[in-house]
Symmetry: D2
Subunit: 275 residues, 4 copies
Amino acid sequence: MIILIQCNDKIGLVAAIAGVITQNKLNIISMREHVDKQANRFFARIVSEQYSDVSLLLKDIQSVLPEGAVISINPGPEKKIIVLVTKEYHCLSDILVRNHFKTLGASVQCVIGNHDVLKDICERFGMPFYVVNHENKSNGIFESALLEVINKYPHDYLVLAKFMRILSPKFVELFPLRIVNIHHSFLPAFIGANPYKQAYIRGVKLIGATAHFVTNDLDEGPIIDQKIIPVNHTYTTEDMVNAGKEVEKSVLAKSLKMLFEDRVFVYNNKTVVFE
Amino acid sequence: MIILIQCNDKIGLVAAIAGVITQNKLNIISMREHVDKQANRFFARIVSEQYSDVSLLLKDIQSVLPEGAVISINPGPEKKIIVLVTKEYHCLSDILVRNHFKTLGASVQCVIGNHDVLKDICERFGMPFYVVNHENKSNGIFESALLEVINKYPHDYLVLAKFMRILSPKFVELFPLRIVNIHHSFLPAFIGANPYKQAYIRGVKLIGATAHFVTNDLDEGPIIDQKIIPVNHTYTTEDMVNAGKEVEKSVLAKSLKMLFEDRVFVYNNKTVVFE
Amino acid sequence: MIILIQCNDKIGLVAAIAGVITQNKLNIISMREHVDKQANRFFARIVSEQYSDVSLLLKDIQSVLPEGAVISINPGPEKKIIVLVTKEYHCLSDILVRNHFKTLGASVQCVIGNHDVLKDICERFGMPFYVVNHENKSNGIFESALLEVINKYPHDYLVLAKFMRILSPKFVELFPLRIVNIHHSFLPAFIGANPYKQAYIRGVKLIGATAHFVTNDLDEGPIIDQKIIPVNHTYTTEDMVNAGKEVEKSVLAKSLKMLFEDRVFVYNNKTVVFE
Amino acid sequence: MIILIQCNDKIGLVAAIAGVITQNKLNIISMREHVDKQANRFFARIVSEQYSDVSLLLKDIQSVLPEGAVISINPGPEKKIIVLVTKEYHCLSDILVRNHFKTLGASVQCVIGNHDVLKDICERFGMPFYVVNHENKSNGIFESALLEVINKYPHDYLVLAKFMRILSPKFVELFPLRIVNIHHSFLPAFIGANPYKQAYIRGVKLIGATAHFVTNDLDEGPIIDQKIIPVNHTYTTEDMVNAGKEVEKSVLAKSLKMLFEDRVFVYNNKTVVFE
């Protein structure tokens, strides 16, 4: 059972929360807390061994927290996700393989592509794949078509696994902090299109990738994780793209793991990640 | 004020400890705890904002902990250390510079060398330097001479900053978990002499360094931190030695910082480090 | 066209080799050379743009090299490999995905498992899978059965992608420097069985993986690549195993890329890798 | 003896250059070359064992290169450098220590500070220190005062070791590709002032440092090296500053090593670094 708490900070919070849990005869397996002093914000993730009356526990915890506290207990069974892709296979394949072997920590419901290139790999894993083409369509119509597929399945998160279309504010607002994107640069460097080309021209010695929540500021949403790899003068733009794929795959996998294990909190356009 | 606790685990420990602290009107600034389930061992490091009657608080905390608990409160002012060296300057200089600018987190009392090579750099920082030569001496006499200097100064820790002599069990027992060594390999690989030569011959692609507590099993004491850097076929043994110096310096500095901030616990020949 | 040369070193080798290539009107796209001064050994990897009479060029190059030189020109089309596995899917899946999308740089001919666990994933990619069970069999009979399958297919390399059986000297000798293994530790630390358990007990702060050629000294063959990731006191043995899988997958992929691009030379139980 | 060549690419360059060197009875110890295909630019760094008539060799090499080639042979004895600082000690101390122990690969002539904070540490190493205060001065007068000190000493490079003033185009033009700066961010992210504060607000998970040549585009000069370290939600801006100092020190040291060993070429606002 996992208990997640985010609220304003005040003296004695840890003791109060731990007290409530102990009074309910629950043993705390692990407890992580963080206080952002500047923002006066408190975060806790508690794993407890035993189970009890959740709604009662929720009420008990609520009673010792400041007003406006956000609590969630036992965020339910495995998360359900929908993956959006364009043409690149590396992130999707990694997700499909982990999903297949039940090590993703979430269950992929279906995959939607704006091209059909990745249909074959999905079918090999028995994964429903939908082509929602964006060509010759207004963005509104394109996104309506996406939503039509999305709404066929339960979904806790949408994962943009190299989905190369920009989603409209209207669409994004339907999924607040529930869309995760892998961006192919070490944000905030090289925001926008063609980051590897920009990196090549600038002559950087490291390239990176950033997994972040999608908000309505392009490439400006809360960062979940980032990773880099060294490059050098021998790398062409294409070499950087290829090297970048490895790091994109790796950082997306790590971020999804953190997310699906309920280790990620968001506030002030930043994240607290209890690794 | 920092409170350190190590004891056997039991249900409700976090709540009990946090409760005692809150009852004493102390606000918890940060609290880190860890339970080793396998060893049934509990560790906590609590930073609290305000100060109070320490001996009373100690007694209060003790009362809620299992028998055999080790508690320390407010481990006193800045640690005092003595540094032992041989001929290599890189780790010592880094310590002297940080000590000089008051960013070491400890106060170096003196430096002891079994050669006089590093006397000059110490004098430049106004640091007392003692030569205790090991040549033509039994180990017992050599170590007695070391102790004579050491006992002139208060000392919480001895830091072996590339001290190339092996200390006897008798000597080590005088400083249980209070001698820190930087070993020039990624332990447990390349235990013993000439690790870089061993690494060269083996053709490894990474070399590393390990900071650890000294115990009577050579290079087998509890590891505080480790770091590596990539090497390749162009590295001679000497190149590895030089590259290794950078990582030795860096890993020792990091480990001392952890130690001096009271972030390191030891049990079962391992460490818990609350970074 | 790739030209690989390994020979004893002598003055003027680079000029002589480059001269021969230029005389044959070939432009050198890239040239990498290395001299191990201590071993007096010369290595070169030359990529040239244009093609010509290979056997003539080979003879021309041979004529300017010392006796005993090993040259290979244009090592032929894509490498062919056979993958051996036991039960773990992570390395195999990564290879299958890359193979499927033609980015492996080699062509997987078939997969052999001593269990049938990974049959399903192979079939999903249309990859022939053979179970060669080791139970209730002498090692000789087991290896004969392996060879029977192996010999059905052309094969430049055997890749042990978490194949948990130790191959006999007799078997290994059939494939000199043509068997690549991924070992789940930062060799030479934790040689042998259960490296993650050993790492857990020792309390290391980094774990790693090593891709190496298999020789008849267990875990002592020439190292192709190594990589590590940080771990800490919160990792159980199982957590280390899981974290290790990511690095195993990554280091094997990188090593195979180097190998399939003819960037790896072996001598004195070490490698030269022209990245 | 080190030979550096930068010129337009053409067929047979390696053979021609190597041929000239061999004809002059010089053995090539190591040769590194790189061709930027897109820019059609050739770079070579040749280390040869023996010495000969440099001006003749220069003429001989020139004769086989395309027009406009830039060659330098045996770039003379140890480089001479002048270090500019403001108040932070970490980069300067590292340079002073290496200079003192003759492992910097260059000889520091003097240190100039726009504050006097670092005078003491310089004096401890017998290093001339000049205060050139910028307060209540026009930039022109400040820079004239800097130049007055600089011109007292021979100088191959100026090193800005956390010098927190922006130099004017007029000043920078006096030292083309001869001013090295350490910038406290992973450029091009967080250009300009207060990068750590920017990083904190953005909630990045990595922070870095960049060593680069100073040009008249602020923070846009050719990058020599970059390095990062992971940070997390527990880091305040001040923690990031402190963690950043370690990486600044490390990346500046590495870049200076590359520079002083004549391993760095510049073209198109990028570098080729033969590590």
